[in-house]
């Protein structure tokens, strides 16, 4: 399960960041922010023609000593970043994928809310609860 889930706007500012409260929030902010470089690298690696059919899931962005950072980018260039604990070896790529898909669906719902102003930080209870289900439950 994830220790940090972030939604980053097209312009690379955070729309939503939630991390396990037991660990330093700041650290995750840095991690997620830094991962954007890798996202950009991955995106620029794909040719322009292929950009349309490219897969949204970007896979493992980079591993750090303690965490693995996975990325996902919607067609509107909104990025999702999920940080999982490196020790959590049970997580398979498929599970990460499904987490992203769930996140994407929920994010779409947020976008469909007529009262949501695109570009604002996400403050949605539904989205929050979806994220909570994916987060490591900190006891």
């Amino acid at each position: 399960m994830a220790v940090c889930i972030a939604v980053i706007a097209k312009e690379n500012y955070p729309l939503y960041i939630r991390s396990v409260p037991t660990q330093g929030e700041l650290k995750f902010h840095y991690t997620v922010h830094t991962s954007l470089d890798v996202v950009e690298e991955k995106i620029s690696g794909v040719g322009k023609a292929l950009a349309d059919q490219r897969e949204l899931y970007l896979g493992l962005l980079y591993p750090t000593e303690d965490y693995k950072v996975y990325g996902y980018m919607t067609n509107s260039k909104v990025k999702f970043v999920i940080v999982v604990d490196s020790s959590n070896t049970s997580l398979r790529d498929n599970e990460i994928r499904s987490m992203f898909r769930k996140l994407h669906n929920s994010f779409t719902d947020v976008m469909c809310n007529p009262f949501y102003n695109p570009g604002d930080p996400i403050q949605s209870k539904a989205f929050d609860s979806i994220v909570s289900t994916m987060m490591v439950q900190a006891f």
Partner: protein, 1418 residues
């Protein structure tokens, strides 16, 4: 990785250079000492060879050695031990700071523009020092001494003996085994004998002879005579000599650990004295004789420490000497060193070749024997720890490595690579990991340096080497060296990503400095990538900054954080940004850069931070602490600017004048303006118009050009282009809007305004009396708010008061306050305050200010202003204090809130002059002038005090017999309403025209409920002036002219009007003939006939509140007209009051006749009634733009017979015929039950009759109430030129038949009966009318023939007449009857048209009523 000064090749070559030891005799040392240099130091600047050297490799190939550098050090120079090394490196790094104004290159990546220093000189310094201070190790020979210079002075008694001594010494050091430290490359080290000759002292001939002797003894290639010190001492000190040592010697200072100071923070110039002690400490161990030199040292040091410019070095050396030294080195290298190396390579090669076959087979045999990978000399147990494996120095494996190193040093990289490669294989097969790693490292480097590059750079060699060094050998120094080299090589091949990975891998917990530097380099790698990774750069910069700060390198830490901040700034990553800012703040503070610290902290606090409340509180406390210490440092200058709370400057409001008194007993004060009111643009426009009107009235009809509407309350929407005027001794209230962006409360204390005041004396004639003054309370009282707490995330306004005591110019600059955390309320704080009041100062709070800078509105007038963004001035906060002015207060007594429509109520108004200056010219303007009246000047029948009048009727009741109409003439002028006057403005009578200081005046005020129901907002504007007209005096300066001429007071009243009566009136023309009252005079008769009218007044009680109003009584009906007057009431009920309860209706009928005089009149001519009558609805009529009755009649009279009229004129003329101009005033009484008390309310309603036959109503027409107006984008089509309608035209001529009602005729006698009939034609219009009278029966309808056929008109049956205006014409006709019966005589048809309008055809006039005549037969 940052750009370096050196190229990679240069860097690597310089990292591995041949090492030469120096052993100096005591005398020789003394000779060099003269130049404040030791012998190795003396040589150092000249150690790079400028010319090419040559040598032959074992295959007799010539190898060219280019740009070779040799390293000459004292034999006892010992690389510093690890802790020392750390300190030294740390010091060099901290000393090396980026130059202040270095051209930082702007780096653009995506949407980031970064300002990054391209070079990192501190890293280069570190690297150089690090590599130089690498301890010599067993497994490699690169930094082992290849040769040794033995230096002896020529002034020695027996130099040859000395040489011998030194040679023995060297031999002892190398071979006795006592010394572990200086490591030697090969057993038979090259000894080079140098005779140092001091030209200024020694005997040159002797030196030469000694040299000759030496040549004989050591061969020409093994010795040298170096002549230096051509001049003595400081003689030529003033001469400018190049100082080649300066750039070398400060670096060597790292070898002097004693001088290392922890407080290296100061970026001062490095002390160079360390250079002198370079070698000395180590001498003490083996050369006691140097003691006296040692004695000298402290003094030198003392003189050295104090110097600002470095001690002059090489003072005894001339440029010639420099050349000598250079030549010496060249000689040494080419004649001594390189041949020595060449010889050794050859020797080693021979050894290896000869041993090859044997050793290979032997090795493989032993390997097989021992199961692989085991060195025969070592036991199995020892081999486990392969890292600690040591070969004996003469081991064959080391020979090849030795050869490789030699080749490497003389730049024969190809051979070196081959040897390294071979050595690597051997070491690996022996599992001698340290050796293998060394060989791998050097193999990679050699491969890289091979100019032809036959093979790619083997990066994996380096990786393996680093890994081995780190993990197997646990030798971080070697790993680091390897890493630095590899990263540098990778960088040169643009493999930034690999370099960064390598560098990051190398960071570890054991050395913060190294980690910091490497991380920084890694960050630079990221930014230099083909697609720059800005965020990675920033992140690694932060990591580097963190490590720097851990390593105590605060400046570098700060720099790293600052560079990283550029990426994070303003991108929404607030948590990270705050963290960086916080760190920058702290670092800046510790580095004594309080401004930066404050700025950084300020940033954290100002931003809408997402931090938790606790975190914010911590930030705030830290900020306050930093701030406090900074302000203490700064001393008592101007107060610092505080960032918190946020000040919304533009929302600042300024109010001039006293706070309003709401009510005093039953007195109700004028609402005026207060800060509580919201600004309303429409309303302010309305007030402005009112003020303009009243000012124009006061100035006899013109508005002066200097007119400026009074603005008591200034805000962002008011016009603030001019300096507002404030009056001395009247307060100025500034409302400042604070917002607390934090989640913690803020406590402000001692909050007050900051201002600047320029004294100006306006009473003086000259205008030069200006003085700058300081904040003194005798000039301006400044209100101080002792406590002002703002809760978390709250927006709160503070009202700050100033009371000026002097005239002049005031500038409100800002606010001053103490800022503290809002946590004073906790127990500890309370305790502090309670126990010792003085301690309260220690609580965290700082005094500072915030400026109020208000930007004016954006200018958009000229093209220039439109194309650029410019803002106008805003002088809201710069009032001019003018001399005293009168100040009026207005109170209302018994002012109602609800009225019936048309109800008359009496209230009182009190004017009080509260200033010390008399006031005059009191006027009032109102949006609803018909609503109130102060009574006419003539009426003095009102009671004097309001209390006495409480139960009196507003009307004066005059006892008179009912149904007798009284008539009195009143002119509207008496009631202050004249046609030319602005009815909006009313003058208020003052006794003697002046209201003195402190005086009060109470006058009655009549109010009349508005005609329409609903809530009405009624605005009063009271205008008054000072008694002295200031602007008229020419003495006053221009500045003063714009001062206040008048003042105003506003009042807004809300009146709720409820329905009372609805009065409808109709007038109809009477056709009756007043035959019985007929006068003899012709004219009189005509008038009478023309001018009588019936007026029906329909009164309905439409009041809906049945509980309140019981009944209405019609008390009186009056009329006002210029032409008509009401006669007695034709009332069926008789004389009784007509009474109407709820929903009842009544009808009254009056006769109206035309007045003889043309003067208007009103019957009820006393004050309230007449006042309101004249004030009624003038406004609305004027707005309607219609032709008012009075106006039209006047116009008519002026142009009696328009000669050439347009259609319009005709229209009006035609209209006029059917117009009446009669106003009816209905006075009523209502019996109201309120609180179980019966009250009698009185009121009046007005009806204006305009057209005959058309109903008029007291209520305003519905069309006016229309509130929703459709938006129209096109201008209205102008109404078509109104032609008089047929209906109107048919009213031109009034016809009347006069005949006997019955006529007796003896038909039997005379068959024909002739009856005379008079047809009176009366021209109603004021123009000439052509009339055609046709007597013939209509032939069109057969019935009429039937009916009327029985009689006929005799004589002329068709007449054409012309009637003058108002003319009455009688036409005498004869009707002829044939038999008795009842006949209708009304058959004549009258056609009329206006005489001048040829185009129009005649219109049939309204036929008279059926005129029946009875013809009796007798």
């Amino acid at each position: 990785m940052a750009q370096c000064v050196q190229s990679v090749q240069e860097f690597i070559q310089d990292s591995f250079v041949p090492m030469v030891a120096v052993l100096c005799s005591e005398d020789a040392e003394r000779v060099t000492r003269k130049n404040s240099l030791s012998f190795p130091e003396l040589l150092r600047p000249f150690c790079r060879l400028t010319s090419e050297g040559h040598l032959r490799d074992p295959n007799n190939q010539v190898v060219v050695v280019k740009g070779l550098r040799i390293s000459v050090t004292g034999i006892n120079t010992r690389p510093p031990q690890s802790p020392e090394l750390h300190r030294l490196l740390s010091r060099t790094v901290s000393v090396c700071q980026p130059p202040e104004g270095s051209p930082a290159n702007v780096f653009t990546a995506g949407d980031y523009d970064l300002n990054i220093s391209a070079t990192t000189p501190w890293f280069e310094t570190y690297r150089e020092n690090f590599l130089q201070s690498m301890p010599a190790s067993e497994h490699e020979f690169l930094n082992h001494y290849l040769a040794c210079m033995l230096v002896v002075s020529s002034c020695e008694a027996v130099p040859t003996e000395q040489f011998l001594k030194l040679s023995q010494e060297q031999h002892r050091i190398q071979h006795s085994g006592e010394y572990t430290h200086p490591k030697w490359f090969i057993p038979n080290t090259l000894k080079y004998y140098v005779l140092l000759h001091d030209i200024s002292e020694g005997d040159e001939q002797r030196a030469d002879s000694v040299y000759e002797d030496m040549k004989q003894r050591y061969g020409t290639q093994g010795c040298y005579l170096l002549k230096i010190n051509s001049r003595s001492g400081s003689t030529g000190a003033d001469e400018q000599m190049p100082d080649p040592w300066s750039q070398y010697l400060h670096k060597t200072s790292i070898h002097n650990p004693e001088l290392y100071e922890e407080s290296a923070v100061s970026n001062a110039v490095e002390n160079n004295i360390g250079a002198e002690e370079d070698v000395e400490p180590h001498y003490q161990g083996f050369c006691q004789s140097v003691n006296n030199v040692d004695e000298m040292r402290p003094q030198k040091q003392a003189s050295g420490t104090s110097h600002t410019s470095p001690t002059p070095r090489g003072t005894c050396l001339t440029l010639n000497d420099h050349d000598h030294i250079r030549q010496f080195i060249q000689e040494f290298t080419f004649r001594g060193l390189l041949p020595h190396i060449e010889k050794n390579i050859r020797q080693l090669n021979d050894q290896l070749v000869s041993r090859k076959g044997l050793s290979r087979s032997l090795f493989s045999a032993t390997k097989k024997l021992f199961g692989g990978g085991k060195v025969p000399e070592k036991s199995i147990a020892e081999l486990k720890n392969t890292a600690g494996l040591l070969y004996p120095s003469e081991a064959p494996e080391l020979q090849i490595r030795k050869m490789a190193d030699l080749c490497f040093l003389v730049q024969h990289y190809e051979l070196a690579y081959n040897c390294y490669h071979t050595a690597k294989k051997d070491f690996l097969s022996d599992q001698a990991m340290l050796y293998a790693a060394g060989a791998l490292e050097m193999a990679a480097v050699a491969a890289f340096l091979q100019s032809g590059a036959p093979r790619p750079y083997p990066a994996h060699y380096m990786d393996t080497a680093i890994q081995t060094y780190r993990e197997v050998c646990k030798n971080m120094l070697l790993a680091e060296r390897c890493c630095i080299l590899s990263a540098e090589i990778l960088k040169s091949q643009a493999k930034y990503s690999d370099a960064a990975t390598l560098l990051i891998k190398m960071t570890s917990e054991d050395s913060d400095l190294r980690s910091a530097l490497l991380l920084e380099q890694a960050a630079h790698c990221f930014i230099n990538m083909r697609t720059p990774m800005v965020r990675k750069f920033a992140f690694h910069m932060i990591l580097a900054g963190h490590r720097f700060s851990k390593a105590g390198q605060k400046r570098h830490a700060l720099r790293c954080y600052c560079q990283a901040l550029q990426v994070y700034k303003g991108k929404g990553w607030t948590l990270a940004e705050d963290h960086i800012n916080f760190t920058i703040g702290r670092q800046s503070f510790t580095l004594r850069q309080p401004e930066n610290a404050v700025a950084a902290f300020r940033h954290i606090l100002i931003n809408d931070s997402k931090q938790s409340a606790i975190q914010q509180a911590a930030f705030l406390r830290e900020y306050l602490y930093v701030y406090k210490s900074m302000s203490q440092l700064a001393g008592d200058g101007s107060l610092p600017q505080l960032p918190l709370p946020c000040l919304h400057s533009s929302q600042t409001r300024v109010f001039f004048g006293h706070e309003r008194r709401l009510a005093e007993g039953e007195k109700q004060a004028a609402t005026h303006v207060s800060l509580e009111q919201e600004f309303d643009r429409d309303l302010s426009q309305l007030w402005r118009e009112l003020e303009e009107q009243v000012v124009s009235v006061a100035n006899r009809g013109t508005v002066p050009i200097t007119f400026q509407p009074s603005q008591c309350c200034l805000n962002s929407q008011t016009d603030n282009l001019r300096h507002p005027l404030a009056i001395v001794e009247e307060p100025i209230i500034v409302e400042v809007v604070f917002r607390n962006p934090l989640k913690v409360p803020l406590a402000l204390s001692a909050l007050c305004l900051l201002w600047k005041f320029t004294l100006k004396d306006f009473s003086g004639p000259e205008d030069g009396t200006t003085r700058e003054t300081v904040t003194l309370n005798d000039i301006i009282d400044t209100q101080v708010i002792p406590e002002f707490t703002i809760s978390p995330e709250e927006t709160k306004v503070a009202r700050l008061r100033l009371l000026p005591h002097k005239t002049g110019e005031l500038h409100v600059l800002g606010v001053v306050y103490n800022l503290g955390t809002g946590e004073v309320g906790d127990s500890e704080g309370m305790w502090l305050v309670c126990v010792a009041g003085s301690l309260a100062e220690d609580l965290m709070c700082v005094r500072g200010q915030q400026n109020l800078e208000i930007q004016g509105p954006r200018l958009n007038m000229t093209k220039e202003e439109k194309t650029s963004v410019r803002y106008g001035p805003d002088h809201r906060l710069d009032p001019i204090i003018t001399p005293p002015m009168p100040l009026l207060e207005v109170f209302f007594i018994n002012f109602p809130t609800g009225l019936l429509c048309g109800e008359i109520r009496k209230a009182w108004v009190e004017f009080v002059n509260v200033s010390a200056v008399p006031l005059t010219g009191l006027r009032v303007a109102s949006t609803h002038p018909e609503f109130f009246t102060f009574g006419s000047a003539t009426s003095d029948l009102t009671p004097v005090t309001p209390t006495a009048a409480e139960h009196c009727s507003a009307y004066k009741t005059v006892a008179m017999p009912p149904s007798v109409a009284t008539m009195s003439l009143v002119s509207p002028a008496v009631f202050g309403v004249t046609s030319g006057d602005q009815p909006v403005v009313a003058e208020i009578p003052l006794s003697r025209g002046v209201l003195g200081p402190g005086e009060a005046l109470q006058i009655p005020l009549w109010l009349r409920g508005p005609d329409r129901e609903g809530v009405h907002e009624i605005n009063f504007l009271f205008y008054y002036e000072s008694t002295e007209k200031t602007a008229k005096s020419p003495k006053y300066n221009l500045f003063y002219i714009c001062a206040i001429n008048h003042r105003v007071l506003r009042h807004t009243a809300f009146i709720c009007a409820s329905r009372s009566l609805s009065v409808r009136a109709t007038a109809s023309r009477s056709n009756t003939l007043h035959s019985r009252e007929r006068d003899t005079e012709e004219q009189q008769e005509a008038e009478e006939k023309n001018a009588s009218m019936l007026v029906f007044v329909d009164v309905e009680n439409i009041n809906t509140s049945e509980a309140g109003v019981r009944e209405f009584h019609i008390v009186q009906v009056s009329s006002s007209s210029r032409q008509w007057r009401l006669h007695k009431c034709i009332n069926p009920v008789g004389d009784k009051d007509s009474k109407l309860t709820s929903r009842e209706r009544g009808k009254l009928c009056f006769k109206a006749t035309r007045c003889r005089t043309e003067e208007g009149g009103i019957v009820s001519c006393t004050t309230p009634c007449a006042d309101f009558f004249f004030r009624r609805g003038l406004h609305s009529e004027a707005r309607r733009g219609g032709v008012s009755a009075g106006g039209a009649s006047q116009m008519q009279r002026k142009s009696h017979t328009p000669q050439s009229g347009t259609d319009d004129d005709w229209t009006s003329i035609v209209k006029k015929c059917s117009e009446v101009e009669l106003d009816i005033i209905v006075l009523w009484k209502a019996y109201v039950v309120e609180d179980n008390k019966q009250l009698i309310l009185e009121g009046q309603l007005h009806v204006a009759l305009q057209t005959i036959g058309k109903e008029s109503c007291s209520l305003s027409q519905k069309e006016e109430t229309q509130e929703m107006v459709l938006l129209k984008f096109k201008p209205d089509v102008p109404p078509p030129l109104s032609k008089p309608s047929m209906e109107q035209l048919s009213h031109l001529i009034k016809t009347c038949l006069h005949y006997p009602e019955s006529y007796d005729h003896p038909f039997p006698q005379k068959s024909l009966c002739m009856v005379p009939v008079t047809l009176t034609l009366s021209n109603c219009s004021l123009a000439q009318v052509d009339v055609i009278v046709d007597l013939r029966h209509k032939t069109t309808s057969p019935e009429s023939l039937e009916v009327h056929g029985s009689f006929s008109w005799l004589g002329q049956t068709q007449y054409k007449l012309q009637l003058q205006a108002q003319e009455v014409y009688r036409l005498f006709l004869k009707a002829c009857f044939f038999q008795a019966g009842v006949y209708n005589l009304g058959t004549p048809r009258v056609f009329a048209k206006l005489a001048q309008t040829s185009a129009m055809c005649e219109t049939s006039q309204q036929s008279a009523m059926p005129a029946l005549i009875i013809v009796n037969s007798i």
